[in-house]
């Protein structure tokens, strides 16, 4: 291995070990939302302040049309109740997946 590759290996020491993987789909939510507590966002609501139940309920409301929105009513239709619950549990944990 060349010197270039080794320099990458040294940096590894600074990184924490594998975090628990997010539920399928949850990483995509973070393309818009922040889920760190105290995150400053302009535009998208921060998910890290919500409980898993609140996120799950919001997704169900968007999916059924009870709640209005620009993109969320469409996105929520892509997930079943079970998938939505797993995503909600992934994202409500504030330490999960820093971006």
């Amino acid at each position: 291995m060349t010197a270039l590759a080794t320099s990458g290996l040294i940096l590894l020491a600074a990184n924490r070990a594998s975090a628990e993987p997010l539920a399928p789909g949850a990483a995509s939510c973070l393309a818009c939302h922040e889920n760190r507590v105290g995150a400053t966002t302009s535009g998208f609501p921060t998910l890290g302040t919500l409980s898993a139940q609140q996120i799950e309920a919001a997704l169900a409301a968007y999916r059924s049309g009870r709640r209005d929105g620009t993109v969320m009513p469409r996105i929520a239709k892509g997930f079943s109740d079970i998938e939505a619950r797993a995503i909600a549990e992934s994202l409500a944990r504030p330490e999960a997946a820093p971006r």
């Binding site: 060349t2 320099s7 399928p24 789909g25 995509s28 393309a31 535009g43 620009t70 892509g78």
Partner: protein, 418 residues
């Protein structure tokens, strides 16, 4: 790995890995990422978060984003606002090497750099973007693009088109040519035409932009067309395939354009050529007859070259459009799969989202979205999850989506380059 039986191919890969696992447990695995754009930076940072050693190879010391480049062309923001260096990527723990990968050597599990060095890898992720087909339109080769910009890779080309538009006298014709699908950013040409029309209407009102299209329908069509009727009745004209939009040839010296609809002599000419995966992908045997790289929908591992993963525009990702948003979400899925494979775990079946915001005017935005899942060997749209912003939305909703598009861009650029 077999092209058809991807599931079995995956298992074969796993068996090989579990045998290698004891050695891997001691030495952290090393992943090389080719390309420092949306997909490459996103996958590199996610792999570092998962505890892997990552080297990212990218020739350019600065990355200029295609997203928001249409606003730069229309004079709405400076190019500096969409230009980023790699300091933030380095700070995140990624080893960044500014060089070009000239060859991938799967048997030796290493890449060769233009500078003469080699980089060894345990797994390789390619996110090298697109290659422009300079053999597809008679007269439009790479030399011609020095005076007739494509501006479909952002940077000097973006600046050139912006300068030409700025220098154009009022009363001129701007022509924009659009290829057939698939190409990078399906709604991109129509956003560009819209923002150019906005520029003309406000700054050079006797001028006009004409779109010569190789298609009869396009992404977000009803939304763009209702905006055009309202905003640009005199400043924008769309010529579809059925009305002669298909190009025949261009003469770069005379700066004339021949389409089925007739001969044009535009003051500013912007040609978006047909596209393929970049040359490196073709040379490595990653592409099939489509010109793009077929991948396993769970791991983004090439179905043609095991051990190599392809994400972003270069990948043939089924129903997912070629967008920065897709490249980002594919990167998250690929990083998790690479981490799992290197640890001898079976990757979990993913879900991916794509959302693309477009502007018809600075405060007039709308979106297209979809959720995607693997179905056998490809990614398909989850039924009912795809769609457009409503056609009858009031102006405040258009304004809100324009602001959300900016918020998406700002957040994404902080996450990738911050």
């Amino acid at each position: 790995m077999s092209v058809i039986t991807t599931r079995r191919g995956l298992l074969t890969g796993l068996t090989a890995l579990s045998l290698a696992a004891p050695a891997l447990a001691r030495t952290p695995s090393h992943v090389v990422v080719v390309g420092g754009g949306f997909g490459g930076v996103a996958v590199a940072r996610a792999l570092v978060r998962n505890g892997l050693a990552v080297t990212l190879v990218e020739p350019s010391p600065r990355y200029v984003t295609c997203p928001s480049s249409n606003a730069v062309i229309a004079g709405l923001m400076p190019i500096s606002a969409i230009t980023f260096d790699y300091e933030g990527v380095r700070r995140s723990g990624v080893s960044v090497v500014h060089d070009t990968v000239v060859a991938i050597e799967p048997d030796a599990r290493r890449v060769a750099l233009a500078g003469g060095q080699h980089l060894a890898y345990d797994r390789l992720v390619v996110s090298a973007g697109i290659g422009l087909r300079f053999d597809a339109i008679p007269g439009y080769d790479e030399a011609a693009s020095a005076t007739i910009p494509h501006a479909w890779k952002a940077g000097a080309q973006t600046a050139l088109l912006a300068r030409q538009l700025d220098a154009m006298e009022d009363g001129g014709l701007v022509a924009l040519t659009v290829p057939a699908l698939p190409y990078r950013c399906p709604p991109g040409p129509y956003e560009r035409a819209s923002l150019i029309a906005h520029y003309l209407k406000t700054r050079k009102p006797r001028s006009k932009v004409i779109i010569l299209d190789a298609k009869d329908s396009f992404s977000k069509q009803p939304l763009f067309q209702s905006a055009w009727t309202k905003l640009y009745p005199d400043h924008l004209e769309w010529v579809p395939l059925a009305k002669g939009g298909r190009l025949e040839a261009v003469d770069p010296t005379a700066r004339t354009l021949r389409a089925e609809a007739g001969l044009f002599r535009p003051a500013v000419l912007n040609m978006i050529p047909p596209q393929t995966a970049p040359a490196l992908c073709r040379a490595t045997g990653l592409t099939n007859v489509s010109g793009w790289c077929p991948v396993d929908p769970i791991t983004f591992e090439s179905t043609l070259r095991p051990g190599l993963h392809v994400i972003g525009d270069a990948a043939a990702a089924g129903a997912m459009p070629k967008s920065a948003f897709s490249a980002y979400t594919q990167a998250q899925v690929c990083a998790q799969a690479v981490t799992d494979l290197l640890a001898g775990r079976a990757p979990v079946e993913p879900r991916l989202i794509n959302v693309c915001y477009s502007l018809a005017a600075p405060e007039y935005g709308f979106s297209i979205s979809g959720v995607y899942q693997p179905e056998w060997d490809r990614l398909v749209t989850v039924p009912g999850s795809d769609g457009l912003s409503p056609e009858d939305a009031p102006p405040d909703v258009r304004m809100r989506e324009a602001a959300l598009g900016r918020a998406w861009y700002d957040g994404m650029m902080r996450a990738l380059f911050g």
